[in-house]
């Protein structure tokens, strides 16, 4: 994504964000003629209105999660509230340690909340189930099963016959374009292909919501942007609601209708941003004003200037020959 942004603009963004202080926000915005990230075109606003009229698929109410460690209790999630509507694409983003993964694992039923509820179609969920499909960052395909058998796994668990499972699985494999690999084993596939199988495997159960935990985090940039486009294509054509965790700002803006921004220690909802970039999305939009405005806002929320640990200066001493300047023209 970021490769396609012209250098000059990138430079400007980073300069702006680095100069950003609370009191100079207006000045920064005036420097770069960006609209507010809250500003929505009529079409976008109408779309959100329509989206919010859809039924609620997933509702999270007052979710708290704390882990008991030898050092004492650690609050991972604190008082999380949000709703996801049918066929909405929600991204969850936040700094490391904000409990993104804990949140999605709790939604999947792999962790139980300390308090609060997760409602799917209005009914509380307590344990993992096929109504919430999950795609993990680490692929988690069963290495002993072929691609076809991997996709059949969930369908068979629902009690379908071998033949039914097989014909359904083949359709899903077709959908993700891996027809030629039905009899291959996972270790024979590339990372991107493995993740496509994982998506097909989760969708084959016809879940109400697809939970994706940094699914493209381990992929190289090029494969990742292809996978993002593929995922949008799938989402457009299937009645599926997606909750997608990422730490990549561009990815979140490119994919999401709304972005749930968490903050760390404890993990709390910082802001729920409606992405003003119109759909259908394309990679070219990453230099559009709406995109940049949203990205600017996310940067502010996720990397506040005052507590950036990575900004510690290097204790650099020149250890090369005098005059041997790698960046100098002469």
């Amino acid at each position: 994504m970021s490769e396609s942004i012209p250098e000059a603009i990138l430079d400007k963004i980073s300069k702006t964000t680095s100069q950003l202080k609370p009191q100079t926000e207006s000045q920064a915005v005036s420097e770069l003629p960006l609209p507010s990230y809250l500003e929505q075109s009529d079409a976008v606003a109408k779309r959100f209105e329509k989206l919010k009229r859809r039924e609620v698929i997933l509702e999270v109410k007052g979710l708290n999660k704390q882990f008991d460690t030898p050092q004492g209790a650690v609050v991972a999630l604190k008082d999380i509230h949000f709703k996801t509507h049918r066929r909405e694409f929600v991204c969850v983003i936040g700094p490391s340690g904000c409990g993104k993964s804990t949140l999605i694992r709790t939604l999947a039923g792999l962790e139980s909340p300390s308090s609060g509820e997760v409602l799917l179609d209005g009914k509380p969920v307590f344990e993992p189930g096929p109504d919430r499909g999950m795609v993990f960052q680490g692929y988690t395909l069963f290495p002993w099963l072929t691609i076809k058998r991997n996709v059949m796994f969930g369908i068979e668990m629902q009690g379908a016959s071998r033949a039914t499972a097989e014909s359904e699985a083949l359709q899903w494999i077709d959908l993700v374009g891996l027809n030629d690999f039905i009899n291959a084993y996972p270790h024979q596939l590339s990372g991107g292909m493995k993740q496509r199988v994982a998506i097909a495997r989760a969708l084959a159960n016809k879940p109400r919501i697809l939970l994706m935990d940094e699914p493209f985090g381990a992929l190289d940039a090029q494969t990742r942007s292809k996978m993002q486009a593929n995922l949008l294509e799938i989402w457009r054509n299937i009645d599926i609601t997606i909750l997608f965790i990422t730490h990549d700002l561009d990815e979140a803006i490119y994919l999401a209708d709304r972005i749930l921004v968490l903050k760390a220690h404890p993990g709390e909802v910082n802001e729920l941003i409606e992405v003003s970039v119109p759909r259908p999305r394309s990679a070219q939009q990453s230099i559009s004003p709406e995109f940049l405005a949203t990205k600017l806002r996310l940067e502010e929320l996720i990397h506040p200037k005052d507590d950036d640990e990575d900004a510690l200066p290097l204790q650099m001493v020149r250890m090369s020959e005098v005059g041997d300047d790698v960046e100098a023209v002469e």
């Binding site: 039923g109 499909g133 988690t140 069963f142 668990m157």
Partner: protein
């Protein structure tokens, strides 16, 4: 990082600065032998595999065939005037030279002989011959068994001991690795029991199971079972938990989780464990076969040692090794067909 820094430093010191940074030379012929965790070329691997067998054989041959190396005895050829020497007798070199000196002083006929190794170290060619003659030599008594019968008897003992142990031990191990409750009720006691030496139960086994094959199978069982449960449960615990979580989100329930995820997930590692455990079972064989009435290959070995046919003893010992290695080799080959999803199988 440090490489770049030191490189920069050295060019800084050498103000000429025209030393080439990269030295590219063809190193294909002199690739280093010792590189951490790096595969060797096929030729070198074969060479080393051959050498691992040929080197011990070489040492054995040197000790056997080079007369001035070791050979602590003298084989008497001509007793001379020494009344108690007999042709073919092995005496210590010091004793022989003493007698030689005595007869020289007495001016009587001197004994003659040549340097030889003790009877318990037969030369390789003798053992090689024994490989065949031991099979063709008729048992001395009618009640005794031919060698191939003894070997087969040993193999059946191993088979039953190991099979019974696996039938019980593998399921318990898998359950221990899957459910903490099962592990907690079983493992502490098994952990204690595995330190009790299996042969110590010999007398007890004979009292309970009689003097024939029962106690022998029991010793193999005791020697294998307790290790087996612990090893299998550990292997089960090493299964990536993410696979179980993925199965849960796909709707797998308890029994399905066990039989559709845990069992197939650990199968290749379980198979490898079983190969190693089978090797251990073989090491209990000799002790097991001494219990009650001595039987099988152990009976053959002890019998031949009694007759001082050490070439037969060596041949039998090497046969046990060869059978073990052959079975393991075949199991290794089989694994490649059983587990096509495994990228590599260890061992040979």
């Amino acid at each position: 990082m440090s490489g770049i820094m030191s490189g920069a430093k050295s060019t800084g010191v050498k103000s000429t600065g025209n030393t080439p940074i990269t030295t590219t030379s063809s190193r294909s012929n002199s690739a280093p032998w010792f590189v951490v965790r790096k595969a060797l070329s096929a030729r070198r691997a074969t060479m080393l595999t051959a050498a691992s067998f040929l080197l011990p054989l070489l040492i054995w041959s040197i000790v056997s065939y080079v007369p001035f190396i070791w050979h602590p005895k003298i084989e008497v050829v001509e007793p001379g005037s020494v009344s108690w020497f007999k042709p073919g007798m092995l005496v210590d070199r010091s004793v022989f030279s003493e007698q030689q000196a005595l007869s020289r002083e007495a001016n009587t006929a001197q004994p003659e002989g040549f340097r030889a190794n003790p009877v318990y170290l037969p030369a390789p060619h003798k053992v090689a011959t024994a490989f065949f003659t031991s099979f063709t030599t008729e048992p001395k008594r009618r009640s005794e068994q031919w060698l191939h019968e003894s070997l087969w008897h040993s193999i059946t003992i191993i088979f039953w001991g190991f099979t019974l142990s696996s039938l019980i031990g593998v399921p318990i191990g898998i359950l221990c690795g899957t459910y903490t409750a099962v592990a907690k009720i079983n493992e502490p006691f098994i952990e204690f029991f595995r330190y009790l030496p299996a042969p110590a139960f010999g007398a007890l086994a004979v009292a309970i199971l009689g003097i024939h094959d029962g106690p022998k199978i029991a010793i193999i069982f005791i020697g294998t079972f307790f290790q087996q449960v612990l090893i299998v449960s550990n292997t089960t615990r090493k299964l990536d938990i993410a696979l179980l979580e993925a199965a849960l989100t796909l709707g797998a329930k308890k029994i399905q989780l066990l039989f559709r995820v845990v069992v197939p997930g650990i199968l290749p590692d379980l198979y490898r464990d079983q190969r190693i455990l089978l090797g251990w079972a073989w090491t209990y064989l000799i002790v097991a076969e001494l219990i009650g009435t001595s039987s099988g290959i152990t009976w053959f070995i002890t019998q031949q040692a009694r007759y001082k046919n050490f070439d037969n003893v060596f041949a039998a010992i090497i046969m046990i090794g060869m059978i073990g290695l052959l079975i393991d080799f075949l199991l290794g080959r089989l694994a490649k067909h059983l587990f096509p999803w495994e990228k590599s199988q260890g061992g040979i």
